[in-house]
Amino acid sequence: MKKGKIVAGVLAPHPPHLVYGENPEQNEPKSDGGWEALRWAYERCRRSVLSEAPDVLLVHSPHWQTIVGHHVLGLERFQGLSVDPIFPHLFRYHYDLRVDVELSQMIAEEGAHQGLTMKVMKNPNFRIDYGSITSLHLMNPAWNIPVVCISSNNSPYYFSNEVGQEQMIRLGQATKRAIERSGKRCVLLASNSLSHRHFTSEPDLPEDMSHEHIYHHGQYLWDMKVLELMREGRCQELLDILPEFIDMSAAEVKAGSLAWMLSALDVPTYPAEIHGYGTVIGTGNAVVEWKTQPGGAL
């Protein structure tokens, strides 16, 4: 069997506002738009990624939080209604997704070989988290590509950011080996924002863009520093400063998604494509693509 490969990795943030602003039929609330800079960035990224005709989209989401180990979905299909617990007025999304159970299983096996605690989730009543759904919708609104959803195990971060990151790097390596074994062409989605301090109130009309800006200039500087490293292909340096970035800007990368993806991509030394940057209730968000070189990351 031909060796599988990662065709692209994407920093794919999941503010539900972006789905709300788009008004897809699956989402109950309707808007006048909003957050176009980020939504258009997603459109550009989507065209690029889908042109590779991937077999599977893998998403690592901060909003499927697990305490004991890293979990993957283990049933072929999940349907249901996902309601955002913080922004229920923006996101009530009817989803219907297919899971690549074979690849999920392989990731669980490879993770276990790495010494990680891994579990395969097989409860049919399980509700998919809004973070996974948002990133997956924005990357492929047709939902015609099977997915793998990986939980965010924050427990190692109890000890320190460095300890947590070390574990995410091993999970990324395990994911890469599983993809190689599978023979499939895969896209990785790291579903997190950058700086994550945010306003604690919102305008009466949520999509009123006159209220939208970065929470704090210091956050903006950190976001730009991180994006510059991505643009220049200096991802080892990026990994090195992520623990500090987390502390300085409450960055959502603490969920481990970005470290997981960079590790699976073999820590890119080539430039990433920044499709766009924007804020959502004060948080910093960027849509960033690493399209792997001929021969891929593998």
Binding site: N123, N125, R127
Partner: protein, 450 residues
């Protein structure tokens, strides 16, 4: 006694293990049985509603209030899904929810009354509601836990609930859904061997429970920050601020600890508090932040073992799984307050009667022994006992040494001691004794910090 607005108050754990998997652990099963006692108390009460504050319902844009009169779903916990699904349909007091939201809004906070099909009710509230109010005989009120709010704000939001009860003409049972220490075991465990994940957490939990058993709710509220720092309390233990604010910021309660058990390493307790004076709304302008001058003294009381009345039945006697089996009816170590006392430790290895460095003749008499090997082995045994009790060699405060032959062995023993323990600065006393219980040449008696 004149009736107040709050009939009784409970602090409970919302871990799904208790509802869905109690058969896997004696501790979980015990909690479920204790829940049944509280359920009976509530069933006998004539309160109009049960008001829940769960640390597992987290909000960041102010406060949310459940406003769906009949929410229903089949809930699956994102981590503990193997235990099964929780199908529910609840009855919610929407009139109270609206009034409570109005009162909190008047304080200047964002509020949202949520009434959406499928809005996720948190695991903790579901677990507790199914255990305490399984037939929906009482209406429920549910308010979120703002993860950014500090003491003054949370306390004032608690107080606002009283005003909402007064304006709605209702009496409530109040339930705080929160663990004590919240340090999970982060790998798979055998539920039968579940234990509080650190002895320090356990000790702090017990101190908190002693105060609650005396009805000292406001005192516990004052110490929440220190408790949280020391024992990783659930969500900073901010739920206790809400509870205390709602209950008048007093210690005027009788308390009852129904149960205290580990659930996957966390401290899960069931506590009842019963007002000894009617709880009525306080004037809105009364100072909420009353901790000045009292918090420091309380924390001092809690961390100073001389002032802590430790309930000995609650204390653990650490038994080591690696040190040699005791030769009598005693534990390897015993903790009291901030001290850890070790029984006399010899050089034997666990699972064998052989003594390192000892050669016996065919009659079982000692032919030769090596005090260097024995001293190393004693220190190895002390090390594992300390570590299994959450301590370490560098926390030794005092050592008494018993040698069977001072003249012959002291120089060699003293060299090993200096190499292994000399840098830690513990006080030491060395004496020669006529005999030790087994044919050993050296034994240590250690006192350490846990």
């Amino acid at each position: 006694m004149k009736k107040g607005l709050v009939e009784s108050i409970y602090l409970v754990s919302g871990m799904p293990h208790i509802l869905l998997a109690s058969e896997k652990s004696k501790g979980w099963d015990s909690l479920k049985s204790s829940y049944a006692q509280i359920e009976e108390e509530i069933a006998r009460s004539d309160a109009d509603l049960i008001l829940y504050f769960s640390t597992q319902w987290m909000s960041v844009l102010g406060y949310m209030f459940q406003g769906d009169p009949a929410p229903e779903w089949e809930h699956v916990d994102p981590n503990w899904y193997d235990f099964g699904s929780m199908k529910y349909q609840f009855r919610v007091d929407c009139d109270f929810a609206t009034k409570y939201a109005q009162e909190v809004h008047r304080l200047g906070h964002n509020t949202k009354v949520v009434n959406y099909k499928g809005f996720p009710i948190d695991t903790g509230t579901i677990v507790v509601q199914k255990l305490l109010n399984p037939r929906n005989e009482k209406l429920a009120g549910m308010v979120s836990c703002n993860i950014y709010a500090e003491k003054v704000e949370v306390t004032s939001v608690g107080r606002a609930a009283l005003r909402a009860l007064e304006t709605s003409g209702k009496r409530a049972i109040v339930v705080l859904v929160s663990n004590l220490s919240n340090r999970f075991e982060i790998t798979e465990i055998d539920p039968r061997l579940d234990k509080i994940s650190s002895l320090k957490d356990d000790e702090w939990n017990r101190k908190i429970l002693e105060l609650l058993a005396e009805g000292r709710l406001e005192d516990v509220s004052q110490t929440a920050r220190e408790f949280s720092r020391q024992a990783n309390a659930d969500m900073g233990f901010r739920g206790i601020w809400w509870l205390s604010g709602l209950c008048g910021q007093t210690n005027s309660f009788s308390g009852r600890v129904f149960d205290y058990q580990p659930v996957w390493g966390t401290g899960a307790a069931l506590v009842g508090l019963y007002p000894t004076h009617p709880i009525l709304p306080l004037p809105e302008d009364e100072d909420v932040d009353s901790e000045e001058g009292s918090q420091a003294a309380l924390v001092s009381e809690m961390v100073d073992s001389r002032h802590v009345q430790v309930n000995e039945s609650l204390m653990m006697d650490p038994h080591s799984s690696k040190a040699p089996e005791p030769v009598g009816a005693y534990p390897h170590a015993r903790r009291y307050g901030n001290l850890l006392f070790l029984s006399g430790v010899g050089p034997r290895k666990r699972g064998t009667k052989e003594i390192p460095g000892v050669q016996m003749d065919e009659f079982g008499n000692v032919r030769e022994y090596d005090v260097v090997a024995q001293t190393h082995s004693v220190i190895d045994n002390v090390k594992v006992i300390l570590e299994e009790a959450g301590s370490s060699l560098d926390k030794i405060l005092d050592v008494q040494i018993f040698l069977a032959d001072m003249k012959r062995d002291f120089p060699l023993f003293n060299r090993v001691y200096g190499e292994r323990l000399g840098s830690y600065g513990a006080t030491r006393t060395t004496v020669e004794v006529g005999a030790l219980p087994t044919p050993i040449a050296v034994e240590f008696k250690v006192i350490a910090q846990p």
